[in-house]
Every structure is written in structure tokens, then in C-alpha cells.
């Protein structure tokens, strides 16, 4: 079974959708006119927007962008798992509204009360299509919700990179994978964790290059590697590595999204929606009260 629901309708021509997305993307730059300023729940706005893009796409475009949507929707699944683990079903149900997940998966999420039972059900449904779901329960029991999340997201990115036939999609997922590796190394170095961080293969940075930097245990070398990866003019500060890497990704996607008739337009828009949700979430909740979903993934 696929993670996301399938749509039989032929969908709109790509040029039609690109034009609509370009128009909505331009709206994001003018916050007063943006549809994002209207609702009190930015995550709901984001889900609504993703659902709209997913349903408007034609089959060919949807197949090309499937790894990106699977990655984003995996976050919904992980957030739902977190709420379930925290014993907060009402917040979990709210997450599942407007979700792109298969109806059978949503049904299981609604009806199952324990995370271990849920992971077993997800394994049954998804392991054939997504091999990384095959040892979900074992991973959960061994590493807990945090470890499960790390493993799931990392493997989802690796599979997306391996399966995608679109260069823009592969580059996007590669950057995200590199970002995870760099952040893991940075956190381990900054907090002087003696254990080697998990380095995932498949990204633009080779695991050997990451291991070399890790072996040096030198924060300056790592920050230099981060600067090269982000390809930004300024240098990263020790407190703002995540934001720096996100800025690097945004700049890349913005460049890729300049061609008005290419897939990059859609990826750039989806990413900008993510960033807008993140910004608005912070504004609404206050930086100190970051909600559980904003820390996901």
C-alpha cells in the first residue's frame, strides 16, 4: 500500500498549476495579502495548501513529486505518533484532518490506542512498498519515539533519493539528508557527546567527508563544511546553525524555482509554505513555547 491516497482524476495541465502556484508564491512575499495571515492555526493552513497542490497535480507531476509529499506527510504521521505517545488523542485527530495519508492508515491511527500496536499495523500496511517500515516496532521498542522518528525520516529521505527520477527532487532530498548529518555532528560536537553521531549515506556530502570532520573534533572545520554546504555569503554562527542551513536550502530552492515552467516552482512553493508556517507558529506561540509539531523532523 502507498503512504498517500491515490487520485484517479487526470488533474490539471502542468502549465496551469505552475501559473497558479507562481501567483500564490508571489502572495507569500506580500504578507498583508497572503492567505496565511487569516487563520489561527498555521499547521492547518499548511495542510490545506498541500492538499490543494496534491489534488490539483496531474498524474505525471504527482509521481515526480511523490517523494517530497511522502517526506512531508511522514511528519504528520510522526506528529500523530507523538501525540498518541503523549496520550493526547484530540490533538492527534486534529493533525489527521486534511492529511494526505491513505484512509486505511488514518482509520488505524484513530482506532489504535497504543504506539506499539500502531507501529505493528503500519509495518503490515507499508513494509512492502517502503522497506524502511519493516522493522518499525523493533525500532520503537529499542529506541523509543525519538529514535523511531530519526530512523524513519532518514530512511524516507534515502529511499526518496534512490527512487526519484527528477533531479530537482533528488537535490532537495539530498540537501535535507546532508542537513540532518551536519546538524547531528554539530549537536554532538557542541555538547561534547562522546558517541559518534549517526551519519546517513545518500546525500551530497559523502559519509567519509563527514567522518573526517568528526574525527578532527573541530567545531571550526564543521562550521566551514556547513558554510560550503549552504553556499551562503555570510558564515554560520554557533547558535544559528539550523536557521543558517535552512536559509541555504531556501536560497537553492529559490534559484531552482526561477524557471517558471519547471518542477522547481512547486518545490520552492511547498518549502516556502513550510517556512511561513514555522514563522507564524513562532509568532503565535512565542519562541519559548514551541509546539510539539514544530520540532518534528
Amino acid at each position: 500500500m502507498k503512504l498517500l491516497y491515490e487520485i484517479a482524476a487526470p488533474g490539471a495541465p502542468s502549465d496551469y498549476l505552475y501559473a497558479r502556484i507562481r501567483s500564490r508564491r508571489a502572495e507569500l512575499d506580500v504578507r498583508e495579502k497572503s492567505r496565511w495571515g487569516r487563520s489561527a492555526d498555521p499547521r492547518a493552513d499548511l495542510r490545506l495548501e498541500y492538499k490543494w497542490v496534491y489534488e490539483e497535480m496531474n498524474q505525471q507531476l504527482r509521481n515526480r513529486l511523490l517523494p517530497v509529499f511522502e517526506y512531508f506527510e511522514l511528519k504528520t504521521l510522526i506528529i500523530a505518533l507523538r501525540y498518541m505517545a503523549a496520550g493526547d488523542p484530540s490533538s492527534m485527530f486534529a493533525q489527521l484532518q486534511l492529511s494526505l495519508l491513505q484512509p486505511q492508515i488514518i482509520k488505524v491511527l484513530r482506532e489504535t490506542k497504543q504506539v506499539a500496536l500502531l507501529t505493528a499495523a503500519l509495518e503490515r500496511f507499508l513494509a512492502e512498498e517502503y522497506p524502511y517500515f519493516s522493522d518499525l516496532t523493533k525500532t520503537y521498542l529499542r529506541e523509543g519515539p525519538g529514535g523511531l522518528e530519526q530512523v524513519l525520516v532518514g530512511r524516507c529521505l534515502q529511499q526518496g533519493i534512490a527512487r526519484s527520477r527528477s533531479r530537482q527532487v533528488r537535490e532537495f532530498l539530498r540537501y535535507l539528508l546532508d542537513m540532518r548529518n551536519l546538524q547531528a555532528m554539530y549537536k554532538h560536537l557542541r555538547w561534547q557527546v562522546p558517541v559518534t553521531p549517526p551519519i546517513l549515506s545518500g546525500g551530497g556530502l559523502s559519509p567519509a567527508a563527514c567522518e573526517k570532520v568528526w574525527a578532527e573534533k573541530n567545531l571550526t572545520s564543521l562550521l566551514e563544511l556547513i558554510r560550503k554546504q549552504a553556499k551562503l555569503v555570510d558564515s554560520p554562527s554557533e547558535d544559528g546553525v539550523e536557521d543558517y542551513l535552512l536559509r541555504g536550502l531556501s536560497a537553492r530552492l529559490r534559484r531552482g524555482g526561477r524557471d517558471p515552467l519547471q518542477l522547481g516552482v512547486v518545490i520552492d512553493y511547498l518549502w516556502r509554505c513550510q517556512l511561513e508556517t514555522r514563522t507564524r507558529g513562532r509568532e503565535l506561540a512565542g519562541v519559548e513555547q514551541v509546539r510539539v509539531e514544530e520540532t518534528a523532523g
Binding site: A12, P13, S14, D15, Y16, L17, Y18, A19, R20, S23, R24, L261
Partner: protein, 71 residues
């Protein structure tokens, strides 16, 4: 034989621009429909943009007509 060649040239003069116009209008039309769905106030601009490629086939038709007059 010369008449056949001239007729063939006229056919090409109108046929190739017609195909190019059709291709351009299909893409501009789709993009224009997308723009109008988001910004209905752009109607006038979109109509002009859709009409611009039409000039190709009109010029092709004029060239074809000139060729046929020579026959």
C-alpha cells in the same frame, strides 16, 4: 512541376506556423487559465498574451497567399 512545388511551399508556409502557434497557445492558454483562477483582474492581459502567437500563423498565411498568387 513548378506549380506543385509552389503549392507545397505555400502549404509549409502556413502549416509550420500553425503548428507552432497551436503549441504556444496551448501552453500560454493553460498558464493563462491558471493565472486567471488566482487573479481574475488579469483577464485583459491574458487575452493579449494568448493572441500574440496568432501573429505567426497570420504572417504564414500572408506568405502562403503571396506564393499562391505567383502560381
Amino acid at each position: 512541376m513548378e506549380k506543385v512545388l509552389l503549392a507545397f511551399a505555400a502549404a509549409l508556409a502556413v502549416g509550420i506556423p500553425a503548428i507552432a502557434t497551436a503549441w504556444a497557445q496551448s501552453r500560454i492558454g493553460a498558464a493563462g487559465a491558471g493565472t486567471l483562477a488566482e487573479k481574475p483582474e488579469m483577464t485583459g492581459t491574458i487575452i493579449i498574451l494568448v493572441a500574440i502567437p496568432e501573429t505567426m500563423v497570420i504572417l504564414g498565411f500572408v506568405v502562403a497567399a503571396m506564393i499562391l498568387v505567383m502560381i
